[in-house]
Every structure is written in structure tokens, then in C-alpha cells.
């Protein structure tokens, strides 16, 4: 832009007769080097307007105005997420933690755990039990437990004989232990 043109526009500017486009043209002239030494003094004027345009209202400005006017305050939007989010995350986290512990209890149940669930399987030899549970993947954990304590005997009579024998062993050891404690043995 020519110096003469700038001077004309400046005259118009002081008269407040410039259009927005003209004002922008002036601003861009003073923003760019080189500025004619005679016009140098005006540079600060446009620089000042540019800098001041960047300033915006600080936090809580709206409320300060409302307070002055004696009107009800608006909700402080920047404060809300800081206050609420950790609370909600805490609840979700706690729920997740409980879920995980419960899941841990059931899914990672030790294999040798005796369980009543074995009882609910179809009545037949333990081979049948295994087959039945294989077709029910939702009962996988139960299946593991039931196969682990699968019956050694299919015949109750044999099972009774084994239990009877074991009871005798336990009984005898128990009595021997008691005798040794009371000092009547040997």
C-alpha cells in the first residue's frame, strides 16, 4: 500500500468513516515492515488494538458481573467435571473391583475343590458325567470340579467296602493315638 493511500485512509479512520475492510488494510500495513518513518508513530495505535483484542474475560467473569447486578449465579461449568468425574470413576472402579474378585473366586477355583455341584450331574457312571458337562460349556467350572472328584467306583457296594476299610484304618489310628496320649499303650 502506498504512503499517500495510507494517509488518506488514516484521515478517514480518524473521522470514523473507514469500512471494516479498510481498517483491516491499515492494520495489515502497520503490521508489516517497512513502515514509512513519518507514519511510524501510528504503528503503536494499531499494535495496541491488536494486542488488546486478544484479551478475554477471566474465569468467573460472568458471575462477578451477575453478582454486581444482584442476579442468581450461573453454575461454574469448569468446576463441575473436576468435582464429579472422580466420584463416578470411583463407583465404577469399585464395582469393577468387586466383579473381578468374584470372578477370581469362581473362575480360578482350585481344581481339587470338592463341590456339591458334582451331585447335580446326571445319575450314571462318571464317564457320563464328563460327557454331559462337555455339552454344557457354561458349566465348565463345575465340570472340572466334578471330574476331579469323579467316583473311583461305579458300584456302590465297592464304594461302601472302600469307605468301610478306610474308616477302620482311621478308627484304629485314632484309638492308637488316644492310647499313646493317655500312656496306656506299649
Amino acid at each position: 500500500m502506498e504512503k499517500a493511500q495510507v494517509i488518506i485512509l488514516l484521515e478517514k479512520y480518524w473521522q470514523a468513516e473507514t469500512t471494516i475492510a479498510e481498517e483491516q488494510a491499515l492494520a495489515s500495513y502497520f503490521r508489516e515492515d517497512p513502515v514509512d518513518p513519518e507514519l511510524e508513530v501510528y504503528r503503536d495505535v494499531f499494535f495496541y488494538f491488536r494486542e488488546e483484542a486478544k484479551v478475554s474475560a477471566g474465569p468467573g467473569f460472568g458471575n462477578r458481573i451477575l453478582q454486581r447486578l444482584g442476579l442468581p449465579l450461573e453454575e461454574e461449568t469448569p468446576v463441575v467435571p473436576i468435582f464429579r468425574q472422580p466420584f463416578r470413576l470411583g463407583v465404577v472402579g469399585a464395582a469393577a473391583a468387586i466383579l473381578l474378585v468374584v470372578a477370581g473366586l469362581f473362575l480360578l477355583r482350585p481344581l481339587g475343590q470338592p463341590t456339591m455341584l458334582a451331585d447335580n450331574q446326571p445319575a450314571a457312571g462318571h464317564r457320563d458325567t464328563q460327557a454331559a458337562t462337555r455339552t454344557q460349556p457354561t458349566q465348565e467350572a463345575h465340570a472340572v470340579a466334578s471330574t476331579r472328584i469323579a467316583d473311583t467306583y461305579d458300584d456302590p457296594e465297592q464304594a461302601l467296602a472302600a469307605v468301610r476299610r478306610a474308616l477302620l484304618v482311621a478308627s484304629r489310628n485314632l484309638n492308637q493315638g488316644r492310647r499313646e496320649i493317655t500312656g496306656t499303650s506299649k
Binding site: 473391583a97 473381578l100 482350585p110 481344581l111 481339587g112 475343590q113 464304594a159 496320649i181
Partner: protein
């Protein structure tokens, strides 16, 4: 990223839950560990089998035995003749002393002959009786679950000829 960290933090909780459970059932753990081990003889009688037993002819079964069996819920045995004292020690370390109270402990022959009885109590009733026995010939871990009356159990062998029963310390499966 932040959520990722949170989940990482929660992961140990999962293991904690499982860990607590594992600790609770040390005997189950021992059974689970050795149930497929070829060195061990395993006998397991499930609650279902105990119910089926009621259909067996009981004529030849003495009264005390009948009542004792009727109150049992499940029964398991693990026995082996391989490194018995090692397994004996392992079994003892796996037992949760908070749950199982030691009833009788006999040690003779310079720690080579051991029998221990432990019980899990439910109120004033015994809900599980554990017998752990080991000598140089074998190791036996026996678990009776049910309503156990020690006096009845004691009577089962009281009238028997002691001499003929010497080999019965450990349960030997035929």
C-alpha cells in the same frame, strides 16, 4: 492411558480373590496336584455315591458303621509308597491351620512313624476329619467330609483284634 493404568491396578485383585480361595482349600489343592500322579493311589467317593449306598444290602454291616457311613458326605484318599515322608511334610505345610484344628498327633520311631488327625469344625460338630499318616512304607492322606462322631468312629475298631490290624496304618489299595 489413564483407564489402562486403572485396569492394571485392578488385575491383582482378581488374583487376590483366587489366591484367597486357594488358601482356603489347601487339601483340595493337594488332591488336585496329585490326583493324576501315577505314583499315587486315589480313591474318591462322591456325595452321589454315598446316596446310592443306601440301596446296598446293609444286613452284614454293624450298626455303628452303618450310622457313621450314613452321616458321611464325601470321602477321598490319596496314598503312595514313594517318598512318603516328603509328601507328609508337604501335606502338613499345605494345611491351613486356621481351618483345621489338630486333634491328635503321634510321632514315634524317631519321626519315621507319624499319624495326625485334624478336624474342621462347624459349630460344635466335626464337619471334616483329615488323617495324615506316614511311615517308611507309605503315605496316606484321607479326608472324610460329613457329620463325624469321633466316639462312634473310635468304637468301630475297638472290639477288633489289634494284632491282625498292624498293616492298616496306611491305606493300601488292592
Amino acid at each position: 492411558m489413564n483407564t489402562c493404568k486403572k485396569w492394571l491396578f485392578l488385575l491383582p485383585l482378581l488374583l487376590l480373590g483366587a489366591g484367597a480361595f486357594a488358601q482356603e482349600d489347601a487339601i483340595g489343592q493337594f488332591f488336585g496336584k496329585y490326583v493324576d500322579d501315577p505314583r499315587f493311589t486315589v480313591i474318591s467317593v462322591s456325595p452321589r455315591m454315598f446316596r446310592l449306598m443306601s440301596k446296598v444290602r446293609w444286613d452284614s454291616v454293624p450298626g455303628d458303621l452303618k450310622q457313621t457311613v450314613a452321616n458321611l458326605h464325601s470321602f477321598r484318599v490319596l496314598s503312595t509308597d514313594a517318598t512318603p515322608l516328603k509328601f507328609y511334610k508337604e501335606a502338613l505345610t499345605l494345611i491351613d491351620r486356621k481351618q483345621y484344628e489338630e486333634l491328635i498327633s503321634v510321632r514315634s520311631g524317631g519321626s519315621k512313624d507319624n499319624v495326625r488327625f485334624m478336624v474342621k469344625e462347624n459349630g460344635d460338630k466335626i464337619s471334616e476329619l483329615l488323617m495324615i499318616a506316614a511311615d517308611e512304607d507309605g503315605f496316606t492322606l484321607m479326608s472324610f467330609v460329613g457329620d463325624i462322631d469321633l466316639n462312634k468312629l473310635s468304637r468301630l475298631s475297638a472290639d477288633m483284634d489289634i494284632k491282625g490290624m498292624d498293616n492298616l496304618k496306611n491305606y493300601k489299595h488292592k
